[in-house]
Amino acid sequence: MVAKKCVAMLLAGGQGSRLGVLTKNTAKPAVPFGGKYRIIDFPLSNCTNSGIDTIGVLTQYKPLKLNSYIGIGQPWDLDRLNGGVTILPPYMKQTAGEWYSGTANAICQNIEFIEAYNPEYVLILSGDQIYKMDYSAMLAFHEEKKADVTIAILEVPWEDASRFGIMNTDEENKVYEFVEKPKNPISNKASMGIYIFNWKKLRQYLMEDQRTPSSSNDFGKDIIPKMLQDGEQMYAFPFKGYWRDVGTIQSLWEANMDLLEESSELDLYDPAWRIYSRNPVEPPHFIARGANVKSCIITEGGMIYGDVNHSVLFAGVTVGKGSRVRNSILMPNVKIGENTIIENAIIAENTVIGDNCYIGYSTSTQEKPSMDGNDITVIGENLTLPSGYKLDKGIMVDSENFLSFQAVI
């Protein structure tokens, strides 16, 4: 195979348990986002736009939807003769097989894949973040600094710094200390979980890490601290722009709502940095007479007969006559009957909601209520909620328990 300068490894195996019913049957990177995307579209599109065409996607948890979504990588222009996108699930070895026990272990089990391309550098990405980033700029920075490892960092608000892994650096951005969730942070440079390693160096540390029984085989917890301890050249690459970890219901909801701002920080319209996705084969959406659409995102296949305000609607969504949808996310092919009210809700794929339902309904008439994660109502995929169904705010239901949660209002 032709050698590649840089190979990307995308960690997409996590369960994402904090997303509850949304990841019950789906790996987190395949969770829909922003009207027509899935989370993994962002790192994949970033790779394509950065000129990185060889990507290994490490899958483990519920990979069916993710696998079929990625396919041969054609939507991201990753169907290449040489390189392209390769799905890497855990596999049996001659004597035994094992699951990926941590992020570093997942890479370690796929050393053969990386070696096949004989790269100088390896880029490690995660599949649960929404951002646009030019990895080629980070790679140039890495080369210029002659670093062994470069970690992308984001300057977060000081009050949030203690929720992140914080990099303490000198004025040259050389990292001298890494503190996980510090009580009293002395820097606000948070690690974004995006790393570039010199492959030879990383290989050596991965092998060593595998031989350490006490290790949790994790980049943040084991590999990075060990490299720092050994005095390897570690630099922090400052990233500026929109970046959200969408690992919780709250953050997923907020990041979707961010797109509704008139000048959203995340510019999806830039023709030079398209976010690609597997496009649905659907006609344009239809707004009927008497419908009302304000501050919302609607995509192909939509049929809107009711009121939609401050919401994100995915492909093939129907909102019936007299229904009101507010502050909500309706994922692909959700069908809403007539005279149903939906507020502050996330409704997963293919769920059908009958007539005269109340979902997440609150009597407050605030335009944009302050939301904390507990107030968002979440409905799992492939459910059929009967007409007249009522569900209080902040409840999460799936196919097993939705009948027992029916509220009496």
Binding site: L259, Y269, V281, P283, H285, I287, V293, K294, S295
Partner: protein
């Protein structure tokens, strides 16, 4: 229908849509918010299970080739069969300028002969409908037809509309006994959809024979001349049909897409309609937006008022703009306080702040591609 190949003829130069077809063939005309006219015929073939399709091009075919690319979006990038774009060429017995469909078929005879299928579905490219050819093919085989002509009985059409088409008359056994091409006094309301099913061997023979005699018109020289000799039957399409042959019909049929019945007929009944993917962002409506009875494609940003419109991909509608009964093609920009009524904007048109454009339902204002008003 793996035993059937498809041929789409896109060279009809007798039809002019003025500004809209200056730089593109009718097949490449944008239609229904995110499609081009050819997407429907092509998708109908795909949805029928046809996997070998030749597209014969004549005029201004650049935008058509750009649109079709490798055929990937229609799943026609195949090792066996797939999509063949057949542009005109010059050789010792070929001028590169087709004198009619038959001339075009004759020029591409080597492709047709080489194809391994038994039957051919031939289609023009100015009719938009949602159908699969499966039923028509069953009909063709069951009734032992030599040629099956797909037609639509158009009871609501005016005499003027009818007299711009090829009309057929059938007996109770579906046998066609009369065909008139653009008659001044229409005697029938059965409009030929310019879609035919024919045995490939017979097709090859008829084309060769026609060409040898210097005859080049499919309807006149193959169908009409053989009404007595061959079993030519009519198969009725009972769904929606848009016939695009003038600015007026283009305007009217686009707006007909706003009727749920037509929309369902075209997009859902017979399978998905495929088109080139543009990776546009979903449409976004602003705080002051209002939309009613409209089709809106991805990439649109709407801050004004839109009523009875078809908006193609990437259209921008500014604040306090009011657009009514109009068709706005890809990437056009309508700035603040603009008023449009019965207007067709071609691609990439910019209408500056405060401008007003009014047309009539029967005579819409058409603004050429890349204009700035």
């Amino acid at each position: 229908m793996r035993d059937t190949m498809g041929i789409i003829y896109t060279g009809d130069s007798n039809i002019s849509l003025q500004e809209l077809t200056l730089r593109r063939s009718i097949a490449a005309l944008p239609f229904a918010g995110r499609y081009r006219v050819i997407d429907f015929t092509l998708s109908n073939m795909i949805n029928s299970g046809i996997t070998n399709v030749g597209i014969i091009t004549q005029n201004n075919y650049h935008s058509l080739m750009d649109h079709l690319d490798s055929g990937k979006q229609w799943d026609l990038d195949r090792k066996s069969g797939g999509l063949f774009i057949l542009p005109p060429y010059v050789s010792h017995d070929n001028t590169g300028w087709y004198r009619g469909e038959v001339d075009a078929f004759h020029s591409n005879m080597s492709y047709i002969r080489r194809s391994s299928q038994t039957y051919v579905v031939i289609s023009g490219s100015s009719m938009v409908c949602g159908l699969t050819f499966r039923k028509a093919m069953e009909f063709h085989k069951e009734n032992l037809a030599d040629i099956t002509v797909v037609y639509k009985e158009d009871k609501d059409a005016t005499k003027e509309e009818l007299s711009s088409h090829t009309l057929i008359r059938t007996d109770e056994n579906h046998r066609i006994w009369d065909i008139e091409v653009k008659p001044s006094v229409p005697m029938s309301d059965k409009v030929s959809m310019e879609m035919y099913i024919i045995d490939k061997k017979l097709f090859e023979y008829l084309v060769e024979e026609c060409a040898a005699r210097g005859q080049y018109d499919f309807s006149k020289d193959i169908l009409i001349r053989n009404l007595d000799k061959l079993r030519i039957l009519g198969f009725e399409h009972d769904g929606y049909l848009a016939k695009i042959d003038s600015i007026h019909s283009y305007f009217k049929t686009n707006l007909e897409m706003l009727e749920p019945e037509n929309f369902y007929d075209l997009f859902e009944k017979s399978g998905p309609i495929y088109t080139k993917v543009k990776d546009e962002v979903p449409a976004r409506y602003g705080e002051n937006a209002s939309a009613a009875n409209s089709l809106v494609a991805d990439g649109c940003i709407i801050d004004g008022v839109v009523e009875n419109c078809v908006l193609f991909r990437g259209v921008k509608v500014g604040k306090n703009a009011y657009i009514k009964d109009s068709i706005i093609m890809q990437d056009s920009e309508i700035q603040e306080r603009v008023i449009l009524d019965n207007v067709i904007l071609d691609k990439n048109v910019i209408v500056r702040k405060g401008k007003r454009l009014m047309g009539q339902e029967s005579y819409p204002v058409v603004i050429r591609k890349h204009s700035v008003l």
